[in-house]
Symmetry: C2
């Protein structure tokens, strides 16, 4: 009997989040699912790993269909490292991360624990996809997203991914019939304009909350922001070779080795 | 009187680390220095930001030459955001991060708090450089690194950096006269092979330490790993547009919008 493909599922909102449960529901249709996800929310942890602290791992049993389900006290990237090195006996054919409660489009990719887990799998040579829904609510409706998650995952399983490339998939918050389709995009040039909300604690000491406004500086119609604003699911191929290859020649023209 | 250029200095090893003190010493020769750095070590925090917790900021006075010096309870990226939005009254001409105690070459760039701080400054439109010395010791000798730090910083101040490009500078652990020069490089293809060190705590519960071995799969002589192994300071231009532009055409050939 042919073994079903092994699929590793993780996220950054924590193992009990509705988003990862929706993702698991889709992945169960496509393969054998192993879950290793944070035991608490780890949003915006980026590519952090736990090197100055201990890691606790718990075998859990949330979904009776799944044999291997763990929670981990660390970051999403820790989860992927632990799964690959300590839990899995064969290499997964795919790692999926999410579904994140909220957007990871544009520059958000760099702050995202969801995407960093997928990127870590990519570094370890495992094809990987991060999924995010543009709805921050804990009780967001993931049903309209499911057919798109399934389709994109099937395409990755069928076609593979180029070496060093991970997919960043964002899904608009729309009823399913209003989603126009899937668009391959580039990351829009955008940033957060921060505002620090200053408060005083009961002991009289000032503290701050980081808040901000997302600003899209990019008018391009080939960007993820454009696709999402126009009712499409955005798919951005992401790489972890951060070298700005186009800048090397210019830097070589500087006199860095001259007195 | 011409104002001296404003230089923001941060790091991930914490504001009292010898590495940032060495960096401040060099920057004081080149401009007006403002320091905003973590109040405790934040290695390997990647591009994490603090959104589910409060931030405390302390005005400190370690260096009598510097008027504006703060520590922050958050991550290196938080420090840059707080500095730009709450502390600085004019935009810095440069942000430097480090000197990190230990390498941030190759794939380490993605885990590095030092480099993430520099990348964050880049996102905010500030030319930025991350500096790392290949010596993890707290009492590492930063003296041989200083002339190279100064030279590279002067070149950036003179030439500027292309839009969206940050420099990742690594310096070998060598006496100054054995350092052969500065090489512009690409990020070597490498990864960490993890090993989880399992222990049992006094209450009888298992826990793990993340450890690992760095594996360079890249034989290229144009990489940062090659440069460092051969006695050069490596300079890798780094970008935060993570789009794998070369992969877009291939993905468009998939049947993602077909039934």
């Amino acid at each position: 009997m042919k073994k079903k493909p092994l699929i590793l599922v993780t996220n950054d909102d924590g193992v009990t989040a509705p988003g990862i449960r929706a993702l698991i529901a889709v992945m169960k249709q496509l393969g054998d699912v192993v879950v290793v996800a944070p035991d608490s929310p780890q949003s915006a942890t980026g590519h952090a790993i736990t090197i100055n602290n201990t890691l606790y791992i718990n075998k859990i049993d949330i979904d009776p269909d799944i044999e291997t389900e763990y929670s981990c006290s660390g970051t999403p990237v820790d989860c992927v490292k632990f799964a690959v090195n300590e839990i899995l006996h064969r290499k997964p054919v795919l790692c999926v991360s999410g579904v994140n409660h909220g957007s990871n489009s544009s520059i958000n990719v760099i702050y995202s624990g969801t995407m960093s887990a997928a990127v870590e799998a990519g570094i370890e040579g495992i094809p990987a996809i991060g999924f995010s829904l543009l709805d921050y609510n804990w009780d967001a409706d993931f049903e309209p997203a499911k057919p798109f998650i399934k389709k994109i995952t099937e395409e990755v399983l069928a076609n593979g991914l180029p070496d060093g490339v991970i997919l960043n998939v964002n899904i608009p918050k729309l009823p399913q019939k209003e989603i126009k389709g899937i668009k391959v995009c580039r990351q829009a040039k955008a940033m957060w304009q921060e505002k620090f909300d200053k408060r005083t604690n009961p002991m009289g000491r000032d503290y701050y909350w980081l808040t901000g406004k997302f600003v899209n500086m990019d008018k391009g119609e080939d960007t993820d922001e454009w696709a999402l604003a126009n009712g499409y699911v955005s798919v951005v191929p992401v790489q972890f070779d951060l070298t700005a290859h186009h800048a090397i020649q210019g830097l070589n023209g500087w006199g860095m080795n001259e007195e």
